[in-house]
């Protein structure tokens, strides 16, 4: 690799200090994080002003989206963007760097957060406002964006923790007994996962003496295979727990159904994908040799996750717990691409993650609308919404097809990429699992549809008996709940009909992930050649 990445040892140190200011355009890499952080601080100060919380949060998220969009366009045109803090050149300063994967994920995450910010208006009480839902939403977005955009492995740990602490706050917002119970499991298991992540970072630092991704790419190649494999296994475990991949998935369905719907939606949409993103970034890009010995293990994890996710969904009577299991099934598809590790695999994984972020958020929001109409979370007591609200039932049947990857929706395209990748790699077990996952997800989701929408009343009642508990959406719920959900679904449908730019984006993402020369060059661009 003929970049400056390996040559800083012979560098004269005085020139390693940056004299010139960073050009204004390069700030785009840190804007999403900085805006979210300052926005959150500002909203905490104004927590008594209920009226200003939503408009201000929306304004900040829109600014973040504009920044992410600019970043995405720039990466399309000129390749990865990097910025190093504090007058020190890489690998000494803390680097923020974005390639196509980071930019696409960050943009999708901010869009999901925008929709959830509106939706939260329907269910937030005075208490929820006072205890700071919007500041925590922005802090969560800050942690998520930071994880996607950072180019430094210890920094990644810090953003994980920012995200984790914000998610703790959101999870117990309201303080019902159910939430405390869910939060205990979520809290302990996620804390354990981040601690394992930190252990792995410590060993990797001990082996390489650097923390910068781009520098690690060069140095990790020189480590003996034994220690490298051990470190990679630790990373796989930590990120597997974060992403809720089998067999470390138990905390997800135990906790994601307990908080408010908008919190479930943002968690299900974003948090597990950050774990999957980190797994791909560290294991595929930074230490590709590290997991060569246990590629089969990742394939087994992907297989089990793909099959067991929708099977779990099939066995639930609680609507949101069922969706929790579908989140796990989606993680299986991302891990399948990760296990393949080819252009098709990584591209498909990136594409599927984008689809999954949008679709899972929309699914939880729909579940929230259904819960508001029926006043229960138990699908046996639901029924008859088909007649009560046409928009919700149309959205839900579309959701059934989206989540199971039926044409012509967005979920189809990454599945095609992944299946083609599996066929080219002659990994027919994974192809089978991907197709079986679609089939089982279709069964699980359409069973939910049949129970909630198709029949008139509750379980066991005569079919012409309407559901007595059903009440239509109020006006505020329609404006702040139904309309954002429709907007999100519309985006999914439009992206599914015109998937071309996402195809090319995931192609670029996979190329930069598998052969990170451009990424390394972007990070070390300002290092003077000796």
């Amino acid at each position: 690799m003929a970049t400056a990445g390996t040559s800083y040892d012979s560098l004269e140190l005085p020139p390693a200090m940056i004299e010139a200011a960073t050009s204004a355009a390069d700030w785009v890499v840190v804007w999403p994080v900085a805006l979210a952080l300052f926005g959150a601080g500002f909203l905490v100060m104004l927590r008594g002003q209920r009226g200003i919380q939503l408009p201000f949060a929306v304004a900040v998220i829109l600014a973040i989206m504009v920044s992410n969009l600019y970043l995405l366009v720039r990466i399309f045109e000129t390749g990865p963007v990097a910025m190093t803090m504090g007058k020190w050149l890489p690998p000494f300063g803390i680097t923020f760097a974005a390639d196509m994967t980071s930019a696409v994920f960050a943009l999708t995450a901010s869009f999901a957060a925008l929709i959830v910010a509106f939706y939260a208006q329907t269910e937030l009480t005075e208490r929820g406002h006072r205890f700071g839902f919007y500041p925590m939403l922005l802090l969560l977005l800050c942690g998520v964006s930071g994880s996607f955009l950072t180019g430094d492995i210890f920094n990644l740990y810090v953003w994980f923790e920012v995200m984790l602490i914000a998610s703790f706050g959101m999870l117990i917002l309201g303080g019902r007994r159910l939430q405390l119970d869910g939060a205990i499991k979520y809290g302990f298991l996620n804390f354990l996962a981040t601690t394992f992540f930190l252990i792995a970072i410590a060993y990797l630092y001990g082996l390489t003496g650097t923390l910068n991704f781009a520098d690690l790419v060069a140095k990790a190649a020189d480590i003996p295979i034994g220690p490298l494999t051990a470190v990679a296994l630790l990373f796989l475990f930590a990120f597997g727990v974060k992403a809720a991949a089998f067999p470390a998935n138990a905390w997800l369905p135990a906790s994601y159904h307990t908080p408010a719907v908008s919190v479930s939606a943002i968690f299900g949409g974003l948090l597990t994908k950050v774990g999957a993103y980190a797994a791909i970034r560290i294991l595929v890009m930074v230490m590709p040799d590290g997991h060569a010995n246990f590629q089969w293990l990742i394939a087994v994890v992907a297989f089990a996750t793909l099959i067991l996710g929708p099977l779990g969904a099939l066995a639930q009577v609680n609507l949101r717990r069922a969706i929790g299991f579908l989140v796990i099934g989606g993680i299986g598809a991302i891990f399948a691409g990760f296990a393949l590790g080819t252009m098709h695999g990584i591209g498909g994984a990136v594409f599927y993650a984008v689809h999954s972020m949008l679709a899972i958020t929309a699914f939880y929001l729909l579940a929230g609308l259904i819960e508001q109409m029926t006043g229960t979370t138990d699908i046996r007591k639901m029924g008859g919404i088909y007649a009560a609200s046409a928009p919700v039932s149309i959205l839900f049947i579309a959701m059934v097809f989206i989540i199971s990857g039926m044409p012509p929706f967005l979920g189809l395209w990454p599945k095609i990429l992944l299946v083609e990748g599996g066929a080219r790699a002659d990994n027919w077990w994974l192809v089978f699992a991907l197709l079986a996952n679609s089939f089982l997800t279709l069964i699980a989701a359409s069973r939910l549809w049949a129970h909630i929408f198709w029949r008139n009343g509750q379980e066991g009642e005569r079919s012409e008996q309407p559901n007595p508990d059903l009440h239509p959406l109020e006006r505020e719920e329609s404006v702040f709940g139904l309309v954002p959900t429709m907007a999100l679904m519309a985006v999914i449908v439009v992206l599914g009909l015109f998937p071309n730019w996402l195809f090319s984006a995931s192609g670029i993402a996979a190329r930069d992930m598998l052969a990170p020369e451009r990424y390394v060059e972007a990070v070390f661009a300002e290092v003077p050649q000796p």
Partner: protein, 125 residues
């Protein structure tokens, strides 16, 4: 020195694993605290322990003296301590609140989110 510290880290991890496998929340919290300290020591150890010279750059020079301590692990540990302290405090309060509300210190009795006698999925439609 490295060997002694490695042994100590191993001991910390063992105790933490033992405590975390317990069912009582308060024991798990202690396990979390000890695990955090074990990890901090680990970061400290992998950053080389050779140094007897503080990592201060002498006047008029650009690099610290030969054989000086590695300052980076200390910065990392400082960050990790702050973060794990925040998380530990949160978990401590959470555990106490759970004890008040759920009347349970034993994780076996915390079954509200996942009820033990969960209804079977509907077979009829």
């Amino acid at each position: 020195m490295e060997v002694a510290l490695a042994g100590l880290i191993g001991l910390f991890f063992t105790i933490a694993a033992y405590l975390l496998l317990s069912k009582a929340i308060i024991r798990m919290l202690l396990g979390v605290a000890i695990l955090g300290n074990g990890v901090n020591l680990l970061i400290f150890t992998v950053g080389r322990l050779t140094a007897e010279v503080p990592p201060i750059v002498p006047d008029g020079q650009y690099v610290p003296l030969e054989g000086s301590a590695n300052p980076l692990p200390q910065a990392l540990i400082l960050t990790a301590i702050v973060i794990s302290f925040a998380l530990l405090s949160f978990l401590l309060v959470l555990g106490y609140r759970a004890y008040q509300e759920l009347d349970a210190d034993n994780t076996d009795n915390m079954r509200i989110a996942e009820p033990e006698d969960a209804p079977r999925p509907p077979l009829s439609y």
